[in-house]
């Protein structure tokens, strides 16, 4: 019935977006102390360019990239650097981080506004994006400036803004499109300009009717941009699925979107791009959905990067009794946290607190009954049960016969498995062991 979608696989989990879908984005006051990791992106960590004791301003650069695939890090408040130390991140790894004591004044580095940004040279725009430390804010955190520098032999003809937000619970992009549609579209226009592309698309899952409405009406003033409603089906927002849905192109196995002449960027990223090229403003805050049955007062919050998750949760009234899982990101691909002393980073799209009810504990899984549900659910056309069974028996190498590395760990197979097998976990284990 008209709605665009991908053909193979996909699942329909309860989207649970009502907790926060209709709540306007609120500003969260910066806390007394922030921990800003120097690696919030895919790629090489930054090296610190500040020292303990040094005073920093809001927007001051505190981390400098050390490689091409990297993104600078800026201070999100004014105050004093207390120390530079390892601090746990949402993935559980330790990351070198700058701890800043907030003086509460928000004294900022002066930013120059450029109203005529759209007429600037692509390279100038790209440099501003790079300087702002922008990364994919949907969670993948790939540095945007790198995505905007495809090799010459890979021309780009289309840009897609990913407004699918297919993860259950999350509403950050949704609210952004409702509240800042023009800015998001401006960001897309900049991207089109940078890559010299005439076609821009915004794909939005059809469960965000108001976002579609606002984006469509905002879109009227833009040339070459189409806003397209998409079928509600997880993982609609995965790059490869989104490209298939909108352009009917299939990214080759092991390949990247640029192999089919496409660049995909998330809604939050588009907004950050607009801020960067117009105001020269670096990424120092982002919208986070704080939601789930375990949060007292769910909210959409604009949070300074480096704010501890516990401060965010406290602002939302704290967790309810019986919370058993707190997730950074969405429940399908996010990371379960062992502690809330973990900072919000550029890639933290949500904080979801789940209560015991409805959780499944992995240790209770059963034998595979070969029901085929996982196969039917896999958007990549893989046979997840083979990975699961092989890994269980220790036949890691054999997983390669079933295209192990085409799995992007979307979790659809594991979601549907009636035997509650930890398939994604087994796949990850195989991936690490086989690579070696």
């Amino acid at each position: 019935m008209g709605l665009l979608t991908f053909s193979v696989g996909g699942i329909h989990p309860n989207d649970n977006k009502l907790y926060t879908a209709n709540l306007p984005i609120e500003n969260l006051k910066a806390p007394k102390q922030l921990v800003i990791p120097l690696s919030q992106h895919a790629g090489a960590p930054c090296k610190p360019v500040v020292e303990p004791g040094q005073r920093v301003f809001m927007y001051s650069k505190i981390g400098e990239p050390t490689a091409f695939v990297s993104a600078s890090v800026h201070s999100s408040v004014s105050g004093k650097v207390i120390e530079i130390r390892n601090h746990p991140s949402s993935t559980g790894r330790m990351v070198l981080s700058v701890v800043i004591e907030n003086d509460g004044k928000d004294e900022a580095v002066e930013l120059e506004e450029d109203e005529d940004y759209i007429n600037k040279e692509p390279d100038v725009l790209k440099e501003r994006i790079k300087q702002a430390g922008i990364v994919g804010m949907g969670g993948a955190t790939f540095p945007t400036s790198v995505k905007l520098s495809p090799p010459k032999e890979k021309p780009i003809d289309s840009i897609i803004i990913n407004g699918a937000e297919c993860e259950p619970y999350l509403t950050a992009d949704h609210r952004m499109m409702v509240e800042k549609p023009i800015e998001v579209l401006e960001g897309l226009r900049v991207l089109m300009k940078v890559l010299g592309v005439a076609n821009g698309y915004v794909g939005i899952e059809n469960n965000k009717k108001d976002a579609i409405k606002y984006m469509v009406s905002a879109c009227a003033g833009f040339e070459g941009i189409k806003v397209l409603p998409l079928k509600v089906k997880y993982p609609q927002g995965a790059e490869k699925m989104l490209i298939k849905s909108i352009l009917n192109r299939e990214v080759p196995a092991g390949g990247l979107p640029m192999d089919v002449r496409v660049v995909v960027q998330n809604v939050g990223t588009a907004y950050a791009i607009y801020e960067a090229v117009r105001y020269n403003r670096p990424v120092v805050e982002r919208v986070v959905s704080v939601t789930g049955a375990g949060i007292k007062n769910p909210k959409n919050l604009k949070v300074r990067i480096g704010t501890q998750i516990k401060d965010v949760i406290d602002y939302c009234g704290g967790v309810k009794a019986g919370v058993s899982k707190v997730i950074a990101g969405g429940p399908m691909m996010g990371f379960a946290l062992y502690s809330t002393d973990i900072p919000v980073t550029k890639g933290t799209s949500g904080i979801v607190a789940l209560v015991e009810q409805g959780l499944t504990h992995y240790e209770k899984y059963r034998a595979c009954i070969r029901c085929g549900r996982c196969i039917e659910a896999c958007p990549m056309g893989l046979m997840p049960q083979m990975f699961s069974v092989y890994v269980e028996r220790g036949f890691y190498e054999d997983c390669k016969d079933y295209n192990l590395f085409d799995c992007f760990e979307c979790g659809s197979c594991t979601y549907v498995c009636p035997a509650k097998r930890p398939i994604v976990q087994q796949i990850r284990l195989a991936k690490t062991l086989v690579k070696r």
């Binding site: 092991g254 899982k325 502690s339 196969i375 056309g381 049960q385 979790g411 035997a419």
Partner: protein, 347 residues
């Protein structure tokens, strides 16, 4: 510097953190429920002894599962519905007249040997219920092929009759199944008692014929199967390709007057085909799990069924056809993978 990790009660696992409500027991029990129409039709046509025979199979299956798991020191899984389902399916393939020891022994062969010895649920190669039945057929060929006329046993005006035969089969008008008659006496004889062909088809649809307890009523089986398909517990691929293949090849090869003169409808509606196609061949564990493979599997079952019915010594071939194809299920899965996203064909 050392970071002091805060004590916390949070559970940490790999994503995804939400799961569907579907579980193995839920699936098994739902399939059990979907077989109730067939069972009730069996009771209607063959009397209350149907319950007795089926119950023996179920008790035997549950006991065997418990017994072998106990011996092996494994967790007891009789609550997951799988053994119950195997027992029920086995019961539905028995003639109502069987002496009590046949259900008991063959349910042990089905669940204790075929399923548990291979490692329990998920690991068996063959459909347990069908192996149980095959064992019974080979060991007690007479008892497993004595059929009775339906409908005489459950008369609302004479409830007593329904109870009369529960313990041991005493009497009842013996009869042959339509396929049995077809094999021994030819097609004319099958239609002889009927004024019009349609009357026979009608009887086959509602189940008014001699046969195993749960196989006779096509309508009852279809009701259950439809329910399962609507809930997406079974896919259409195996049953449809199975039935279509049987129809096609019995039409081509099944006639006396040369090719393309067989009675496809008769073949499709009789024997254990409906029960087999929807409830036995679709058993997850012993059939392929990729759609393409399922079509091939159904096709293979169909061909074998027709060949056995037409050319071999048995009037009915569904059971052996499915068992033979069970062996090929892993092979089919290995060779007919899905197309991987982004991979060109032939690579």
């Amino acid at each position: 510097m050392e970071i002091k990790r805060k004590e916390s009660d949070f559970i940490v696992t790999v994503s995804p953190h939400v799961r569907s409500v579907e579980t193995v027991p839920r699936i098994m029990w739902t399939v059990v429920v979907s077989l109730l129409p067939a069972l009730l039709c069996g009771v209607y046509f063959f009397g209350l002894r149907v319950i007795f025979v089926t119950a023996l199979c179920i008790v035997g299956a549950l006991f065997s599962e418990w017994f072998v798991e106990k011996l092996a020191g494994k967790p007891i899984t009789i609550g997951d519905g799988s053994a119950f389902l195997s027992g029920l399916l086995l019961g539905l393939t028995m003639p109502v007249t069987v002496p009590f020891y046949i259900p008991l022994i063959s349910s042990f062969i089905a669940v204790g040997i075929t399923k548990q010895i291979f490692g329990g649920i998920g690991y068996n190669i063959f459909n347990p219920a069908l192996i149980g039945r095959a064992f019974a057929l080979i060991t007690w060929p007479r008892a497993m092929t004595s059929w009775v006329e339906p409908s005489k046993m459950f008369d609302l005006n004479n409830i007593g009759a329904a109870f009369s035969n529960i313990g041991m089969w005493l009497d009842g008008k013996t009869s042959a199944t339509p396929l049995g008659i077809l094999k021994l006496e030819g097609i004319a004889k099958v239609f002889e008692p009927y004024a019009a062909k349609a009357d026979l088809y009608m009887n086959l649809l509602i189940g008014q014929r001699a046969g195993s307890i749960g196989e006779t009523s096509v309508i009852a089986i279809l009701i259950g199967a439809l329910f399962l398909m609507l809930r997406r517990y079974i896919s259409w691929h195996i049953p449809v390709s199975y039935l279509a293949t049987v129809g096609l090849f019995s039409w081509i090869l099944g006639g006396k007057e040369g090719l393309f003169t067989g009675d496809a409808l008769l073949h499709v509606l009789s024997g254990g085909l409906m029960l087999g196609a929807f409830f036995m061949a679709t058993d997850y564990v012993t059939s392929p799990s990729v759609k393409k493979g399922r079509l091939v599997f159904g096709f293979g079952c169909g061909i074998l069924t027709v060949l056995i019915r037409l050319k071999a010594g048995y009037p009915e071939g569904v059971m052996f056809a499915i068992l033979i194809m069970n062996c090929f299920a892993p092979l089919i899965d290995r060779n007919l993978k899905q197309k991987v996203f982004g991979l060109r064909k032939g690579k």
